[in-house]
Amino acid sequence: MLTFIVRRSLWTVLVMFVITVLVFIIFFKTPGVDPARAIAGRDSSPQILAEIRAQFGLNRPLPVQYGLMMKRLFVDRSLVSYSNQGQLVVPEIFAAAPATLSLVLGAALIWVVVSIAMGVAAAVLRGSLLDPLLMIVALIGVSTPVFWLGQVANLVSQGGLHNTILFSWVPPLGYTPLTSNPVRWFEGLVLPWITLSILYIGFYARVLRASVLEVQNEDYVRTARAKGLTEQRVLMRHTLRNSMITFVSLFGLDFGALVGGGAILTEVVFGIHGVGFLTYQALTSLDLPTIMATVVYGAFFIVLANALVDVAYAWLDPRVRPT
């Protein structure tokens, strides 16, 4: 198992390297685009352009340029956003990370609990009216665009019904750090949590229901029943234990993407200044250094999530483990 983890980690490093090379080539070597001008952004006086050319070594060979960029990004973390008044990019990302993490962890907790409950209920109650009902609700959840849902939530909670007891506690849009005001941190995140999790609840409830129904027909579940175990134990220890393998794998990948700044729409709609919001801002103002940094940040978490999911899968399913 240990060698498996070590091998997987080395592989992760290799993939990250390839990603950074690709990102570099896309941003710096797209034909017809002058990287200096792209980095400088909108205000590009000749002095800034010359400075950029020197700093990024744009007149030097390709590997050197790549090396300099990586140094800026990872080693001295001195990458600067020219369109944002010389703001240091890497610290900015790390400052935005807690907001994203708060949003994503809360939403993940909600969606895991609710989707498991819904998925299992639908599978166990198969044949009754509740099963298709739950699945229709789930389908609505999957189909509803998160930005629409978020805007509707805002319209209702900030505008129309704000003065009623239902929504009077909702603070104005924005993120309050946990350390400065825990109550407000919580209140400001409730609606974003629910909005973000609805899509995933819909998806995961359907996935789990399908998985449970499939496993229930397996021979070993019949064997478990023939052993004289209670239906509850058969469900928990035998059926779910096998159904959750797919669930956990998919969850790991989705969660990793979200941590890396994938909840762009939710963050923008609710004014939460996380990594997704930063990415959105950088995209609208074509701030190349920030875009590069957020892409690498996001890629790192996706690659890490992939590796962790592989390890988790091996832990959950003994057949996958290397002997």
Binding site: G127, E218, D219, Y220, R222, T223, A224, R225, A226, K227, G228, L229, T230, E231, R233, R237, H238, R241, N242, L316, D317, P318, R319
Partner: protein, 342 residues
């Protein structure tokens, strides 16, 4: 005669489908005495598995309908509630299934799975249950049981997995072991080993065994009494001697006639019973075998009941008279295949 251990009385199992009512089991009656081995033989779709799965109440299809009674030690299993039937499953009646490759949960160690069964029925510590598991694995012939008890099912071959299944099924010393085609998925040499193991356990613990199979050779060796099933009905029942030396039902003749014999001159064609079994959606009113039977006559339009037409414990469900049967059998099965009366 003492009370039978297990008695199935006129069991009927049907499934509602879009195409109509599928009558998988159409009035089956069987008895099993203590320590006895009952073989149930029949082709695929004859209702053998559904019968025994219904005994254990393992059929969870909401479209299944049951009627009839199943007496185990005097109690009707069909009328028990979930809690009561659970206490019988595994400890009173154990069951092993056809495909050992998929019958064990792949994510738990085999020792854990055996211990789980023990602890579901008896108050023992997990350490004690684990020791029992090791003993059971040794008893079923798994070498180095103390080490292999912590292995996962995929570390075992098919034959070994079936041994693990058997160990698990007998772990609580059940009175009855139902073996549903235990060797069908295994190759012939392993088959012999598994059957030998079942016989040994039967002798050591006095367990009654119900052996379901489509292989006549398996029951010839193992069973005290054999029931032949066709289209959800039992059409002949008797001892091995009765069935192999004095078969009464034309279907049984067909089964015996179709066995390829190594000790006779090679026939030019293997004998087969012409036609196909009837669809379980549209079972005939009379004898289910009549449209394939070379000897059917007008009486076959009424359903023949399984009864003792010879005045012994050899039962059959055919309207032909015993004398007609004797004459026709010799003509039907190749004469060389019918040995002299022993």
């Amino acid at each position: 005669m003492s009370e039978p251990l297990l008695e199935v009385r006129d069991l009927k199992v049907s499934f509602r489908t879009d195409d109509g009512l599928v009558r998988a089991v159409d009035g089956v009656s069987l008895t099993l005495a203590e320590g006895e081995t009952l073989g149930i033989v029949g082709e695929s779709g004859s209702g053998k598995s559904v019968t025994m799965m219904s005994v254990m109440r393992l059929i969870t299809d909401p479209n299944a309908q049951f009627s009839g009674e199943v007496f185990y030690k005097g109690r009707d299993l069909m009328k028990l509630n979930q809690g009561q039937i659970r206490s019988i499953r595994g400890s009173g009646i154990g069951m092993i299934f056809q495909d050992p490759m998929t019958s064990l949960n792949p994510v738990y160690k085999v020792g854990w799975q055996i211990a789980e069964q023990i602890r579901a029925h008896e108050q023992v510590s997990s350490a004690a249950a684990r020791d029992r598991a090791i003993q059971l694995l040794t008893a079923v012939g798994i070498p180095q049981a103390a080490r292999r008890v912590d292995d996962y099912p995929h570390h075992f071959s098919g034959g070994m997995r079936q041994r693990v299944m058997i160990a698990m099924a007998v772990s609580c010393n059940p009175d009855v072991l139902i073996a549903d085609e235990p060797t069908t998925a295994l190759d012939v040499t392993i088959q012999a080993q598994i059957l030998k193991l079942i016989r040994k356990l039967k002798e050591d613990f006095g367990t009654a065994v119900v052996l379901i199979t489509h292989d006549m050779g398996v029951v010839a060796d193992m069973a005290d009494r054999i029931a032949v099933m066709y289209a959800g009905r039992v059409i002949e029942q008797g001892t091995g001697r009765d069935l192999f030396y004095d078969p009464q039902h034309p279907y049984t003749w067909g089964l015996l006639g179709s066995i390829a014999r190594l000790d006779r001159p090679r026939p030019r064609r293997l004998a087969a019973i012409p036609g196909l079994p009837p669809s379980l959606l549209r079972l005939p009113e009379g004898c289910a075998f009549s449209d394939r039977c070379a000897h059917s006559f007008d009486l076959c339009a009424t359903r023949p009941e399984l009864s003792a037409r010879l005045g012994t414990t050899h039962l059959d469900a055919c309207h032909l008279s015993p004398q007609q049967k004797k004459d026709l059998r010799v003509a039907t099965i190749h004469p060389e295949l019918v040995p002299e009366t022993p």
